[in-house]
Symmetry: C2
Subunit: 162 residues, 2 copies
């Protein structure tokens, strides 16, 4: 149960408890969860978070562009660019110039990349399941509904569609 924060703060002694401040809580939680997952990516496959996100976004089948990855993951395009460069150097991705628009590169996983992907995804999903198992099914539904709400409000879900 959450202790209520005394809401009308008298301007003079503002009662901010960082531990009750939702933006901070989201940051701390996200960092903690990421840290656990990153450990798996790194230890088992030598991938860091940007690299994993690139692979997860490209996926096993379709190709896509760096721009698309940057938008849908909200990573800075330089971060995406460097991750892709590294993945290509490791032989996990290919990068071919789109002949219709020679500015774009069509990104795909190589066979080796798809192998890593196929191994990694179940581990990630399992970790997610373990994490979310601390909630009841109904609690989880409400929680993800809240996430949906915030994401929509902040315009974070638009790009997943394109």
């Amino acid at each position: 149960m959450e202790a209520k924060r005394p809401d009308p703060q008298p301007q003079d002694a503002p009662p901010l408890q960082l531990g009750d401040f939702v933006p901070f809580r989201l940051n701390r939680l996200a960092a903690e969860v990421s840290e656990h997952l990153a450990e798996i990516y790194r230890a088992r496959f030598g991938l860091d978070i940007p690299e994993w996100r690139v692979m997860a976004t490209v996926g096993p089948d379709r190709g896509c562009t760096a721009q698309h990855i940057a938008r849908s993951t909200r990573m800075h395009k330089t971060r995406v660019s460097r991750a892709i460069a590294h993945l290509e150097k490791r032989g996990l991705m290919t990068r071919v110039t789109n002949s219709a628009d020679r500015r774009e590169m069509e990104l795909r996983l190589t066979r080796a990349g798809r192998r890593v992907y196929a191994e990694l995804v179940p581990l990630a999903l399992e970790r997610e399941t373990m994490l979310l198992a601390c909630m009841t099914r109904e609690q989880l539904r409400a929680f993800t509904a809240g996430l949906d709400c915030l994401e929509t409000f902040l315009g974070l879900r638009k790009d997943s569609a394109d």
Copy 2:
């Protein structure tokens, strides 16, 4: 509404949609919210996120140690140390060696620091309120209950007490 993810994945074509993967969603959401807030801290007061967290944790009244800040915010101690050094240089904090244990430093906001704090906290809380206003009261309660749950599961709430 959340589209259900087809849950039994056939090992061969794993259907990971990064946009539905909760750890990723938490990261993206936290980054987006932080970015908005950081803009306020920076533009209005020249503070970055670690500095703001330090000030918010120390608070207007009590003093505390760098160690306490590191633990309760889960920031790396070097990050805390550098933030404190910068805040002291700017005259927003004081740092006095605890005579009982000369390893510790008792941290306090200066008068100027308290002024910044008193101005900043209402802005931060207002931003939080605006953000959370996209949910109904009931939705919000369920969402923060979910946060509580995850934080407890990950051991993130223990340290706030000490």
